[in-house]
């Protein structure tokens, strides 16, 4: 038996195992080490399985399994092609990086942190694999519910607004998605994506229903007319959680837009101008908002919106090159954005603030973080040695190929603004000299967050001869010395790993480009998808 026969019945494990492990993790009451091991082990397994899936689907093969072994059209199909396996692979990498970061900040010690992350991953795997829109809705909810928990758990000290806005907007979008699904079922008679292929081209009523579905998913992806919720909620939690969310929720929504437009609308060219208009506005308004912000994380969150615009150009063009570029951009962006959140998050967790005005001189103090940030920032702006260059270059090439000169112009202009606001973080946080009270405030923050034990450990590491007296004496002794606070290595490593990946994808772009091309072909011509689902 070949791999293509063995793998499909195993696909439900991608959802089942994280759910089971999440439940076990929640049941382990005291031992946090066991929870760490369970969580990292499951995520590593997810990564290994998704790499195997990428290898199997790299030639355009589509794996499909009818859950419960019912006939085609009756049961929920789980389908994996090049696009879903690639996105799953990148999301597993991000999951590992953000969990490592959360372990370093001690957030992951909370009893439900790991179980929430694992259930979130189960929801992601389900949403990426499912071939049925109602089931997509269910898995999006499976993905959202633990994130409500994570957001509220880690954001409580920042006030209730973040969590309230996040839950409200997402529930509204989910309800709208549900209404769209009801309309699709009423007009087309099925919610199975393979059976729905091209239904929106044949019948305008289905096209309207599909429009409602896409609108609902666009709210979740935060494209411009409906982006305000994201910029007000993502900064309102801890850096580790923001990183996890940045690579997952909006990106799964983008994946769903690609998939649904490819199948339900069969790439219909009539509506593409709407997508191009929306994406151009998203690119522009997102980056303008970023320039106006004052803290590292809120700048990066506005950037995310701008980049979502870039990614959706792919679906707005719907040509081979356009889709390839969009998919490459999606994969590149997930890595880079997470790396940026982690490197600035490490500073925020150590120095207690992400405010540009209150930081400075980090290039000398934290050279490793500076290099990590620099690599990711240049990649985000699209400079040559990194993956961002390949992504932006191919996007612009694809728009020019279709003679959409104004979209190309916006894309180039926005890159300049992107570089500008990355330089704003660079000059504000890394260049110049540190403010006088930087150490003092950082120490006060550390004491508040981790108690006095942390300070003693730090003081001893800095000057082993230092006699440890009562905490206040320690503090003043440390303050008298040159350095009291330093970003620990374990906070730097996750961000560095991701920065290394963006360099790898930039130098070895051929590999990821070929994979994106296969994924794009599967979307451009979904025959293989429909055939695989109907024969499974």
């Amino acid at each position: 038996m070949s791999l293509t026969e063995i793998l499909p019945p195993l696909l439900p494990l991608l959802v089942g195992v994280p759910l089971l492990m999440g439940a076990i993790g929640a049941a382990v009451r005291k031992n946090k080490r066991i929870r760490h091991v369970i969580s990292l082990g499951t995520l590593a397994g997810l990564l290994a399985f998704s790499i195997l899936l990428v290898v199997v689907t790299h030639d355009g093969t589509v794996l499909a399994h009818q859950v419960g072994m019912w006939d085609y059209g009756i049961s929920i199909p789980f389908v994996v092609d090049a696009l879903s396996s690639l996105v799953l692979m990148i999301i597993s990498i991000l999951g590992i990086a953000s969990v490592l970061f959360a372990m370093a900040t001690h957030e992951a010690r909370a009893r439900f942190y790991h179980p929430f992350v694992l259930v979130l991953m189960a929801g992601v795997a389900g949403a990426l694999m499912t071939g049925d829109i109602f089931n997509l809705f269910v898995f999006i909810e499976v993905m959202l519910l633990p994130s409500y928990g994570l957001l509220a758990m880690m954001g409580a000290k920042l006030g209730a607004h973040g969590a309230r806005i996040y839950v409200s907007v997402n529930l509204l979008a989910s309800t709208l998605l549900l209404i769209g699904i009801a309309l699709v079922y009423a007009t087309a008679g099925t919610v199975n994506l393979a059976e729905l292929r091209g239904a929106a081209v044949e019948d305008p009523a289905v096209a309207v229903a599909g429009g409602v579905v896409l609108t609902a998913i666009s709210i979740k992806a935060a494209v411009v007319p409906v982006h305000g919720w994201l910029t007000r909620t993502y900064p309102m939690t801890s850096p580790a959680v923001t990183t996890l969310f940045s690579g997952i929720h909006t990106k799964v929504a983008i994946y769903a837009i690609y998939r649904i437009y490819s199948l339900l609308f069969d790439g219909d060219e009539k509506f593409l101008w709407v997508a191009l208009l929306v994406t151009s506005l998203t690119m522009l308004i997102g980056v303008l908002g970023a320039i106006g912000e004052k803290t590292t994380r809120s700048i990066l969150v506005f950037h995310m919106i701008s980049q979502i615009g870039y990614i959706l150009i792919g679906v707005g063009l719907f040509t081979g090159l356009g889709l390839t570029a969009g998919i490459f951009y999606l994969l590149h962006h997930m890595i880079v954005k997470a790396s940026l959140f982690l490197s600035t998050g490490a500073i925020e967790e150590t120095y207690g603030t992400g405010e540009i005005d209150k930081l400075g001189g980090m290039l000398k103090r934290e050279p490793l973080i500076a290099v990590t940030f620099m690599v990711a920032a240049l990649s985000l702006a699209g400079l040559p040695p990194f993956s961002g260059f390949v992504a932006k270059f191919s996007i612009i090439q694809a728009t020019l190929e279709q003679s959409h000169y104004w979209v190309a112009a916006v894309a180039v202009l926005v890159s300049v603004f992107t570089l500008l606001s990355m330089l704003k973080i660079w000059t504000g946080v890394f260049m110049g000299s540190a403010p006088k009270d930087l150490e003092e405030r950082a120490l006060a923050y550390q004491e508040r967050m981790h108690g006095k034990r942390y300070l003693r450990v730090q003081a001893q590491a800095e000057s082993p001869t230092l006699t440890i007296g009562p905490p206040t004496a320690t503090m003043s002794a440390v303050l008298a010395g040159e350095r009291a606070v330093k970003v620990p290595m374990k906070l730097i490593i996750p961000g560095m790993l991701l920065a290394a990946i963006t360099l790898f994808f930039g130098l070895g772009a051929e590999l990821l480009m070929t994979l994106s091309e296969t994924a794009a072909e599967n979307l451009l011509n979904p025959d293989g998808y429909v055939e695989a689902v109907s024969n499974a």
Binding site: V138, H161, A163, R164, V167, A182, T295, G354
Partner: protein, 115 residues
């Protein structure tokens, strides 16, 4: 037609409540909105068939479509859990359920003091 009217009324009431100030009113709006969505799912299964879709009870041609009923059943549970969470958010995090506080933007929360 009666379902369409009911959905319309529920949606209008929901949108009105979303725009209100207190968190509890917003939650009530979401309760109404999910009612509207569930009614639409029922309508999608063609309400001309009124018989219970149990095997052995009634003619096949007269029985209601069971698929949308399963959809609704799932959606009710999901909406219920999120409603519970929202109600908890309304009472646990601040003094009251007012949604128009001072600290409304990340700029004010993450960078207090700067204007």
């Amino acid at each position: 037609m009666s379902i369409a009217i009911a959905v319309g009324l529920l949606t209008a009431a929901a949108v009105y409540l979303f725009m209100q100030r207190g968190m509890v009113r917003i939650v009530l709006g979401f309760v109404l909105a999910s009612h509207a969505a569930n009614l639409m799912l029922f309508a999608a299964g063609n309400t001309a068939f009124r018989d219970v879709p149990y095997i052995g009870s009634g003619e096949v041609g007269e029985q209601a479509d069971p698929l949308p009923q399963a959809f609704v059943l799932t959606a009710i549970v999901i909406a219920f859990s999120i409603t519970m969470f929202m109600v908890t958010l309304a009472i646990t995090t601040t003094r009251d359920d007012d949604t128009e506080d001072e600290e409304e933007s990340p700029a004010k929360v993450l960078a207090p003091g700067s204007t």
